[in-house]
Amino acid sequence: MAQSTGNLVDQIAQLNAARTLVLGDSAFYPQIVNGVLPIIGARSRLELRRWGAEFLAETFSSPALAPAQKEQLAATALQTLRETLELPEKDTVTLKHIVEAAASLYPLVFRHIINHPEDSTVWENMTAIKDDILRRWDTSPFSVKVCCIKFVQRVVQVQTHGLTDPRRPEQNETSLAIVPRNHSLLSLPYLEAEASGLLDRLLSVFQEDASDPLLVNATLNSLAILIRTRQSIGNKIINAILSFVPARQARTPVTPAVRVGVKSMERTARALMINIMKRNPSHPLASKMQQHIERLMQSRIETVDDSSKKRGLPIEPTDGLDNSKRAKLDAESPPLIKVSPLPPGPVSYSQLYTLTDDTGLSSFDVKQLPVDLLVKIVVPVLARVDQSVLQQAVDGVRMRYQTLQKQQAAQPPPATGEEEDDDYEPEYQPMDVAEPAAEQEDALSAEPVDLQPDLVSLGPFVLPQPPPLSENEAAEIGRSAVGRVFDMLASSGVAPNTGKGKGQQHLGFSRLAGSTFDRDAWVTLLTRLATRAPAGLEVDNKKNDQDPSSKRSTISDSIRETLYRYILEDFRGRVNVGIMWLNEEWYNDRIQMKFTASQRAEEDEESSVPLHYDQWSLRLLDGFLPYLDSRDTKIFIRFLSEIPEVTIPITKRVASLAKDPERVNLCIQSLLYLIMFRPPAREMCLNAVEDVYQTYEESRPAAGKVLARWRPQSTAVQQAQPEQQSTLVSRTVESENNTPVANGA
């Protein structure tokens, strides 16, 4: 026994010496690994197996050993590892290291098999090890389980599609993407399906009711690279994490150990999500992750964590070593911006402001770049400009400028003539230009003539008055301006009705006329321009020259004319424009009358106000009446009901509709509406109906009803009542004769 232990100690010491050798120079690895493998095999003592497993795990993960060499060593090492594993190995420490080694070997072997499909024994060993590990996953002690998680993460990483760069196939990461479709050993669908299943098993730790913090943390910490490098499964993983609430794992009683566990899971989940978001701030799930982080914090505070209550406010650091404080202070630490002095002699503005010494950079013309690209660059750059650097840069330029000023002050200004005035173009010099700017220009310009002091002190410049416009010219210009506003109407008023309805709904009573810049706004503008703007001017005109209407074509009338035509162009669609306009006219008439009345009281003389409402309402009515047909009832009724005042001439015009038997109903219904809902106009409308009743035979049934209801005392109806039956018959006969007469009349 003593012999064997002594022997063992010797062996371990030798092995350690060998390890020190390879750590010092990785070139010895092939030799040492091959030498060591027989000693640490399945049949050796526990200490040797432990040592060997750890050594192999270290070897195949070492960043000092090139992957190609690891690949070469893998075949023999796999055989040993498999034998040890199938012993079956029971020592957790050995097992743990074997699984670690397997996790490092898997991508290496996978890559080797892609390129060497003939090495089927190597793949068989690897697969056997993989299957063995997966079998042990659930039943092993936690130390081994944790490593199984990592192993599975590696398998998933290898057996999913990664990004590939066809230009540099050697650099591509090992993944399904580099497996040829027709590989004899590696079947793509099978491997992919296996990975998918393993990933589900890996993520199941987040769904279980009672997961151990150790396993959860081990999983969370291994997932970052999968999310980062495997687009196809990234969102699935993140969603699994989002559904995981560590606080739910807190079982009663909440022992301190449970508290440690919950807090650790919460913080690890948070660290993972922050890691993802830092790498990809525009991640589609970023906002969800942010919310989840906040929720985690909240739930932790509520449920298990009372440590936050234990600790009082943080005490101010005694020696200013705290980083959050330091960040503001290190104005000294970054190298100062080097502001090179300006070259002697005259300098240009660009030289003054150029702080970089890089000739390529300073000769680069930014104007070559498209504006939108520049905006994309400049805005983020401006957002993170370092205050102190900016300050230094500004100071640097200021220093240069002051130096220049001093130099120039020292030089006496050379006397020169004024003949080069032309260059200066003083007309366009704004008179309130800042004094320093003028100085600067003087001081910096290479032209010595500009130093002339009296040039700087030019007096204010006033633009000459334009030649007076003749009245015709003014009117012409006015008309073209109006024409342009109508163009605006045409371009902005595509869907007038719906647009108007919506606008009104949104704005309600607080609406300001003409504030929305849609068609209505322009119409309001035009109608007021026509009605209010020239108010008062016309009065004078009329007074001074009552004579012929040579002067009648004022700007407002031309606007009215244009509005009139505009409305008639599409009466059905623009009836609201007409209503609005007529309302403005009526309102303006009232205001004018009121104003003139108040004026007259003082002056005590006769005066007249030009009234537009009656004139234009009749004109408009006359304009579209011929085009109304029986289907326009609604539009026509709307017009009649919304214009501000119904006058007898208007009712006469409406009544005239009854001339056309087709429009009798339109006529009677419009009048009936006015009778019912416009009491001030009721009498005149009834008169009109009576008139219609008597004049046009065809209107009798409809008009008779209205009269019977609203004016039962009407003599016309009373006469008609008894012979109603007969007229019905006679009218059908007469109608053919009557109609042409009615139309002609």
Binding site: V9, A64, A218, N221, S264, A271, K310, D322
Partner: protein
């Protein structure tokens, strides 16, 4: 200042000009190298010691690899039964207080030695840096290892044999460039370490327990924290040794039930028990991958 006496003891244990590896008697057990092959006859006791002398490998981390991580480094590497230990900082630069709060002394990681910093500060203002403890701290640090190292620049698994030959304290056992436990001294550093390990892609497939022990960044708290970290290390190591013994077929009957539970599994409980004793050093843990 406060650690003056302890510093002196550390100084005596290791003479300041670091000569080729000075193997103190206890380190022979820690890492059985050539020294052991010479006395192979002392079989039985050695075997017992060997399992007993199993040591977890540690890594301590703070912001600048100066105060807290180095205090812990000192503690772990000079314990009665010393641990293999390496240490890092997670900051972008090594920052030390300067004459005023706005004038810190800033150095690069990996390329500036503690000695250089010591000389520089010494020549700048000896009195100031003596009084605020910086020179003492650098003195301690330069006796432990060459200079501050940045965690993000560490390549796990890259052999660190040269650190052994340079005489870095705690270097024995870390030749392989791997550790079993990382202990940070501030949550920000823990976050940085966990994040960086994810970025590194866990190429070694090797589990590593990452702890945070929140220590305020001053000399006094660093002393307390170092002590607490050593205790945590001892507790963890005890569990790890037990695992190796219990699963040893020769010691099949040595442990049952609780004792047979693996080391990794016990970590939350160990930390919870430790936290009860050190309630003012809030701790955090996860299992990450190197």
């Amino acid at each position: 200042m406060a650690y003056g006496p302890r510093l002196a003891s550390a100084g005596t244990a290791t003479p300041d000009p670091p000569p080729p590896p000075p193997p103190p008697p206890e380190s022979a057990m820690a890492a059985p190298t050539e020294t052991e092959s010479s006395d192979g006859t002392a079989a039985a006791p050695i075997q017992e010691q060997q399992s007993d002398s199993y040591k977890l490998r540690f890594c301590t981390v703070c912001a600048s690899n100066q105060n807290r991580s180095m205090e812990a480094h000192l503690r772990l590497s000079t314990a009665p039964s010393p641990f293999p230990v390496i240490s890092f900082g997670t900051g972008s630069l090594v920052r030390l207080p300067g004459p005023s709060i706005t004038q810190p002394n800033v150095y690069n990681f990996n390329t500036t030695s503690y000695s250089q910093m010591y000389e520089e500060l010494f020549s700048k203002d000896e009195r100031l840096y003596r009084n605020n403890g910086l020179l003492n701290m650098l003195e301690r640090n330069r006796n432990l290892k060459w200079g501050p190292e940045r965690f993000q620049d560490w390549v796990p698994g890259m052999p660190r044999v040269d650190h052994v030959s340079k005489g870095d304290k705690g270097a024995l056992g870390t030749e392989g460039g791997v550790v079993d436990v990382i202990i940070t001294c501030e949550e920000r550093c823990w976050d940085a370490v966990v994040d960086d390990l994810m970025n590194k892609g866990s190429l070694l497939n090797r589990p590593v327990h990452v702890f945070n022990v929140d220590i305020k960044d001053n000399h006094e708290e660093a002393l307390v924290g170092g002590k607490a970290i050593l205790e945590l290390a001892n507790r963890l190591n005890e569990a790890a040794v037990q695992e190796r013994k219990a699963n040893n077929p020769e010691g099949w009957e040595n442990g049952t039930g609780e004792a047979r539970r693996s080391f990794d599994e016990k970590v939350p409980e160990i930390l919870a028990a430790w936290q009860e004793k050190w309630p003012n050093l809030p701790a955090l843990w996860t299992l990450a991958w190197l």
